[in-house]
């Protein structure tokens, strides 16, 4: 499923994924995303963070709270590039965080890889977060 309030992104990604043989579900904001998640449990979700009405962070929180949803692997796709924003998003079953602008071929490869191994250990996730903290040091002390 592709969740993004920008219809252009959704259109572009749909074309790429369908070319690769994947079926695409869509949602334009957090509320719609949750509806789709509950109705049809996709194999993978590409989630934008900045959306009206209900943003990506809220979706992640809802997924953490609900057993049924927690297992959907998620790739974040967002214009927010600051490490702090990224750290905040690394929850639940998030596998990767991509910043916009992005290369679609890279995203497709990532999607394939994630579909092949949909389970990421908490340990691996924690390691990513620790790495992000190191990356965040570029902006100076806190």
């Amino acid at each position: 499923m592709v969740v993004d309030d920008d219809p252009v992104i959704v259109e572009l990604l749909t074309a790429f994924f369908e070319l690769d043989g994947l079926e695409i579900l869509r949602a334009a904001n957090g509320l719609e995303a949750l509806e789709v998640l509950l109705a049809e449990t996709p194999d993978l979700m590409i989630l934008d963070l900045m959306m009206p009405q209900m943003d990506g962070y809220a979706v992640l929180e809802a997924m953490d709270a609900d057993e049924r949803l927690t297992r959907v692997p998620t790739i974040i796709l967002s214009a927010k590039d600051k490490p702090d924003a990224q750290i905040r998003a690394w929850t639940g079953n998030v596998h990767a965080y991509l910043t916009k602008p992005f290369d679609p071929n890279g995203l497709v490869a990532l999607v394939r890889k994630t579909l092949d191994s949909p389970d990421m250990t908490d340990e691996a996730r924690e390691a990513q977060i620790r790495k992000l903290r190191i990356v965040a040091r570029a902006d100076g002390g806190r």
């Binding site: 691996a124 390691a127 990513q128 790495k131 190191i134 990356v135 040091r137």
Partner: protein, 487 residues
């Protein structure tokens, strides 16, 4: 202090002195006439009584008027003559002194004027120094606050602010406020006052002066203890950018319309600084945007490196910061990190998909030139030399076994040594090349083990410092297997 009411005194004094000198001169004239006349009369009379004094003078030449000496009239005249001479001398002296006073007064006036000008120049120079460092939003606030502090001391104000309407949010403004210690009007109240002043300036389209008065804003200000306030628009480009506000809390220091021209020194300097900050911020934003797009182009050719360049740039900058490098060096590290693999776009189709270890000699030779291609591309752009140097050398190894030029230890520029470590760390901690992403601790341990061979141990240590600051420490005695190596 640049007071405007102090001019009256010296002028009045000078007029007084001039009148005094004139009076003395008249007195002297009168006295001198009297002296001459009485001297003449006495001389004549004396001549006529010569015959009684000088013996032997034949009788009858001059009438004998020796009796005249005996008359009271003559004696009075004689006394008058003596007095007149004394008065003349005294008056002359007084006149001289008055002239001196007048001269001194003129010099004092000139010196005051000179001091005032020197103070103004000194103030302008101080402002210039403070505001020269303004480059972006962060440095701007600090510098504006400092400038306002100096202004308060110079103009005798109680508080000041620069108010800027928040972009994108109506009816809301950002203010940099500074207040003199001990004033009853604190920074919070000051901010409210400043915003009110700013709104009046925006409405009026020009400077605003408050010195008492009855409307709502005026009453509020009087309540807070303000005796006068002034608002001056600061223009950047052709539009109103922000408003400079100053206020006083003393009844003997009230801003007047003549103060407005004095404030122009401050206003002008601020306008220059704000304009410069805007230009630099814009320029910075454009540069970042372009680099980001370039990075995307690089990553599109080698799909396993999504997000890699951004991280390498940040890690390299963080390491530079830990090594206490200059801001310009940090900036170069960031750019070099973002663009270190740009040479890959020159690689022929097919090479990039291959594993480095499995490449044919011919392919490997071309592949190992990608740092040179990258450096060549970057040398066309006006980045500092350090950027191209770092990109050219980021695959060299500390022990001289790297590529393309087999440089050793210090022959490799520092930026290149830093980039090598940042690149290796990033690759090891992401699952883009191999299927395994090592935890930061494991990657650090591996890098440490390579200190002296692949990497500069001092540089690896810098990365450790950065890691420790983020709460990440290396695990001792554990090395990552060969598959975590970077290309």
């Amino acid at each position: 202090m640049d007071r405007t009411d102090g001019g009256a005194k010296p002028e009045a004094a000078a007029a007084d002195l001039a009148r005094g000198i004139e009076r003395r001169r008249l007195q002297l004239q009168v006295l001198s006439y009297f002296i001459i006349v009485s001297l003449a009369v006495m001389l004549v009379l004396s001549l006529f009584s010569l015959s009684s004094i000088v013996p032997g003078l034949p009788e009858g030449i001059l009438p004998d008027l020796g009796w005249v000496w005996q008359t009271y009239l003559f004696r009075v005249l004689f006394l008058g003559f003596v007095l007149a001479v004394v008065l003349y001398l005294a008056t002359k002296e007084r006149e001289q002194r008055t002239r001196n006073e007048a001269l001194t007064a003129q010099l004092v006036e000139a010196r005051i004027a000179l001091e005032r000008d020197v103070n103004r120049m000194g103030f302008a120079a101080q402002l210039s120094d403070i505001l020269a460092d303004v480059r972006d939003a962060a440095s701007q606030s600090a510098a504006v606050e400092q400038a306002l502090d100096r202004a308060l001391a110079f103009y005798g104000g109680a508080g000041g602010a620069v108010v800027r309407p928040t972009p994108g949010a109506e009816r809301s403004a950002e203010a940099v406020v500074t207040v003199r210690p001990g004033t009853p009007i604190d920074t919070v109240t000051g901010e409210t006052v400043a915003v009110k002043i700013a709104m009046r300036v925006a409405q009026a389209g020009g400077p605003f002066l408050f010195a008492g008065g009855g409307d709502e804003d005026a009453q509020y200000m009087t309540q807070t203890g303000i005796t006068s306030a002034i608002g001056i628009p600061l223009r950047v480009g052709m539009r109103l950018h922000s408003v400079l506000c100053l206020w006083t809390d003393m009844s003997d220091r009230v801003f007047g319309s003549s103060d407005v021209s004095a404030f122009r020194i401050l206003a002008h300097q601020l306008e220059l600084a704000l304009a410069r900050a805007e230009v630099l911020t814009e320029k910075d934003a454009i540069l970042r945007g372009v680099i980001r797009t370039l990075t995307m182009v690089v990553e599109s050719r080698d799909r396993t490196k999504v997000g890699h360049s951004e991280n390498v740039g940040r890690i390299a900058e963080a390491m530079g910061r830990a090594m206490e490098l200059e801001p310009s060096q940090l900036s170069s590290l960031r750019i070099a990190g973002l663009l270190h693999d740009i040479g890959l776009v020159s690689m022929p189709e097919g090479i990039l998909g291959e594993e480095v270890e499995r490449m044919s000699d011919g392919h490997r030779r071309i592949f190992e030139q990608h740092p040179l291609w990258g450096a060549q591309m970057l040398s066309q752009v006006m980045f500092p030399d350090e950027v191209a140097d770092a990109v050219r050398t980021h695959h060299e190894r500390y022990d001289g076994s790297g590529y393309p030029h087999r440089l050793k230890a210090r022959e490799i520029p520092l930026a290149g040594r830093i980039l090598a470590v940042a690149d290796a760390f990033e690759a090891a901690t992401s699952d883009s090349r191999s299927d395994v992403a090592y935890a930061p601790e494991e990657a650090l341990a591996w890098l440490q083990a390579q200190g002296g061979t692949a990497f500069d141990p001092a540089v690896v240590q810098a990365l450790e410092v950065v890691a420790k600051e983020s709460g990440v420490g290396p695990i001792s005695g554990q090395a990552a297997p060969a598959s975590a190596r970077t290309t």
